[in-house]
């Protein structure tokens, strides 16, 4: 059979395939040292705020069966350095750039949005898992009202499509998804990491200097699949599915659950070429199963 057509349209972007990098696991020069990043559908860059953030103390990384915990704390150089170093370098590649945005308040989210409006960024991904320092440090993404408010404010300021990244650390993710859709989001991405913790049996201290951190890796995949499936049935927005994707088959599973595109995150830490390996694996799966394009694969879901 012919080579499957992997091209998709995602919230107004025309992408050569549905495979992206997940925020926080990709850096243009560093990842580009291992594979041609132009092969990907899009790249999502590390969370960036208007001003530089120092992040958390080390150790920031801990392992656990089937995954890892991280508490990097969104260390980033701020929008100006991001534009100068990362975005300008990415302009050399034929790949759309999605900028992941971070903030401690609605005002900070709006500020970084405005700073990136006149750049080559193709889309924003709003990381609403950050704590809202003006409202007692509760994560924006855990409260439908706060999630809607920050989405609305960024959407008003943005000159690019806005994708909102949902945290799984909520009782009902569909309530947040609906609130964000009503607030004007152009797409959703899910899931962010699951809050976790490990303790060192020798020192009796948490393994992470921050105490808790975000769980990611293959162990979280069933949770992510379930949430994509639920959100697909709750909203009409395009969905970027992520959480534990290691192979092309994992990517196909997300597409069947209702995702329109997928992102590869922790797998790239375990295997630097994982994003392109997932892309090749997805194409091979579609060839093997006889799907001509992504829509045909998605339509094959037999759940209901």
């Amino acid at each position: 059979m012919n080579e499957p057509d992997l091209h998709i349209s995602f919230a107004g972007l025309s992408l050569k395939n549905p495979v992206m990098t997940a925020s926080g696991t990709f850096a243009a020069r560093e990842s580009g040292a291992f594979y041609d990043i132009s092969r990907l559908g899009a790249v999502i860059t590390k969370g960036v705020a208007a001003e530089a953030w120092a992040g958390n103390p080390t150790p920031r990384i801990a392992e656990t069966y089937g995954g890892m915990l991280n508490a990097v704390g969104l260390q980033n150089p701020g929008a100006a350095a991001y534009i100068e170093n990362e975005l300008s370098y990415l302009a050399n590649f034929d790949v759309p750039v999605i900028a992941n945005l971070a903030g401690h308040s609605v005002e900070e989210y709006v500020a970084v949005t405005e700073l990136l409006n006149e750049t080559n960024v193709a889309m924003y991904e709003l990381n609403i898992s950050c704590p809202n320092v003006k409202e007692g440090g509760i994560g924006f993404g855990t409260d439908p009202r706060m999630a809607a408010r920050v989405t609305e404010a960024v959407k008003r300021a943005a000159k690019k499509p806005v994708m909102v990244k949902l945290t799984p650390n909520v009782t009902d993710i569909t309530a947040i998804a609906r609130a964000v859709e009503d607030a004007g989001a152009d797409a959703l991405s899910l899931i962010n990491t699951l809050l976790g913790m490990r303790i060192d049996l020798k020192t009796k201290r948490p393994l992470l200097a921050n105490g808790t951190g975000g769980l990611s890796g293959p162990t979280v995949k069933p949770v992510a699949i379930r949430m994509v499936y639920q959100v697909r049935r709750a909203v009409k927005l395009p969905i970027l599915g992520l959480g534990g994707i290691m192979t092309g088959e994992d990517a196909a599973e997300f597409l069947l659950a209702g995702a329109d595109a997928v992102a590869v995150g922790t797998a790239a830490l375990i295997n630097p070429t994982a994003p392109v390996d997932v892309l090749e694996g997805l194409a091979a799966f579609m060839r093997r199963e006889g799907y001509e394009n992504i829509a045909a694969l998605k339509a094959a879901f037999q759940g209901e």
Binding site: G55, R60, I61, T64, T266, A268, L269, I270, P272
Partner: protein, 255 residues
């Protein structure tokens, strides 16, 4: 391009308590490791998905030698590898030591920080530099003969006094007169590096230190492993895996 490849285990010998010398043959020519670089070793089992950064002890053609301490679950699994088995390893990563163009280098190693200095000693000799090596061990020595063959002078310190100077390697060096033309390159535990940085500051010797930190990706993508440096009066954070692991010892903030 950098890559991760399946290397074949040629040997994996215990050369001291908990210390193993792993020799790997690479399937085809790999870019040669610069002194002080490391490779990521991928244990690839469910509980240990992240790479282990292991410094290059020696690379000769397609033969790569890593000397490591089996200290945690990941490295203990490496210790049971047998000849003929395969292990996934990355291309050499990180910035290595900057060797001076001429003159004298002093290589200072402590414990499992000793191995990368062997590649460094050979590179320095090949460059025509005069090479002094000072190695500190807790008790059992390893790689001593290899260093003797790659240096002009070799000093040994053991904490239990079983060989050489009784004490740590920085105490040993503090008793020696060090020429002002010496470039000091070091790898070892943080307390050793901190003490060495103080000694080098006092003697006005340029110091390069190789740091360790718990890493995520090991190639600069995740920003899991950072250290703090003082540069031009400001505190800056650098990635140990990508911006290091070798840094200017006078800039590192040892916490």
């Amino acid at each position: 391009m950098k890559r991760v490849i399946a290397a074949q285990v040629e040997g994996n010998a215990r050369i001291a308590p908990d210390i193993y010398q792993l020799t790997l043959s690479l399937p085809d020519a790999e870019e040669p490791a610069r002194p002080g670089q490391f490779v990521n070793v991928y244990p690839a089992d469910g509980a240990h998905l992240l790479p282990r950064p292991i410094s290059v002890c020696r690379q000769q053609g397609s033969l790569l030698t890593l000397v490591y301490r089996a200290v945690g679950d990941g490295t203990r699994r490496m210790a049971v590898l047998r000849p003929g088995e395969t292990l996934r390893v990355s291309s050499p990563l990180g910035n290595g030591y900057a060797l001076p163009e001429h003159g004298h280098v002093l290589l200072v190693g402590g414990g499992v920080g000793v191995p990368p200095l062997l590649q460094t000693a050979h590179a320095a000799k090949a460059k025509g530099l005069s090479v002094t090596v000072a190695l500190g061990y807790r008790d059992a020595l390893f790689l001593k003969d290899e260093f003797a063959a790659a240096s002009d002078a070799l000093f040994i310190a053991t904490e239990d006094g079983s060989a050489g100077f009784h004490g740590n390697v920085v105490q040993l060096l503090a008793r020696e007169a060090l020429s002002e033309e010496t470039a000091v390159l070091a790898c070892g535990p943080k307390p050793m590096l901190r003490a060495l940085a103080a000694l080098c500051a006092e003697r006005k010797l340029p110091l390069q230190v190789s740091l360790e930190e718990r890493m995520g990706c090991g190639y600069g993508a995740c920003v899991g492993c950072v250290c703090k440096l003082r540069q031009n009066g400001a505190v800056v954070q650098k990635r140990v895996c990508k911006d290091g692991p070798v840094f200017d010892g006078s800039e590192v903030i040892f916490e």
